[in-house]
Symmetry: C2
Subunit: 134 residues, 2 copies
């Protein structure tokens, strides 16, 4: 059995308007609205415009992070939405899609997790604690 800590949406999106993908203010707004609709809490936001084109934005969240990287020359952007706790990453992605208007979207949903056995004390440790307790 796996212990899940969060849901990660890995999104590739294309056929988006190039001027939208090269507009840092639109991307900032998309992120802030996505965080709001996704019921997440912003800790820190970085929006960076590249020369001659392209925008990268990372939002550090109490729930983990959202990152967007755009290639306006291809009409493409990559988005990652990693949410632990009660946040709603799919609602957040709907907002990004509404504001950035990709014609096609491919979304992978990945459980971020580890094996529950990692939480059990090893036999060696149980044995040691019994020795100590004896």
């Amino acid at each position: 059995m796996m212990k899940k800590v969060g849901t990660h949406l890995v999104v590739d999106a294309w056929q988006a308007p190039r001027d939208y993908l090269n507009d840092p203010e639109r991307i900032r707004r998309a992120l802030l609205e996505a965080i709001d609709f996704g019921e997440a809490t912003l800790i820190d936001l970085c929006v960076h415009q590249f020369s001659p084109h392209g925008v990268t934005a990372t939002a550090t969240l109490a729930e983990s992070h959202i990152a967007i990287h755009t290639w306006p020359e291809y009409g493409y952007f990559a988005a990652d939405l990693f949410f632990c706790g009660s946040g709603k990453p799919k609602q957040a992605m709907q907002v990004l899609q509404r504001i950035l208007q990709a014609g096609e979207v491919e979304m992978r949903e990945i459980d971020r997790s580890f094996p529950e056995r990692a939480l059990r004390p090893t036999l060696q440790k149980v044995w040691e604690s019994e020795i100590v307790g004896a």
Copy 2:
């Protein structure tokens, strides 16, 4: 055919020392060394300590991003290394592993990409340009 824009390593790691995962200075150092070894360029760095425990760090890169989220109570951390261009995400991950000392690591390598057909003008657009050119 797909047009690849970058490589994304999605890493779940566990059985790491809890005090390492709750030490924001260690995690900051791990990120900065990883960026150096991964031949990437830092744009912005956010390292945040949660109460009562846990650290989240996001590094915005010229090559895209690295994010780390730790759950010290589980000995677990999640790392994402998304690199476009000539950066070396696997070398960067080796540094994270060396400094954070997870006993077990599961790494998925995802090509971030879109279909090359998205770059071709549609027949409709070719037709329109011929009409305009006529």
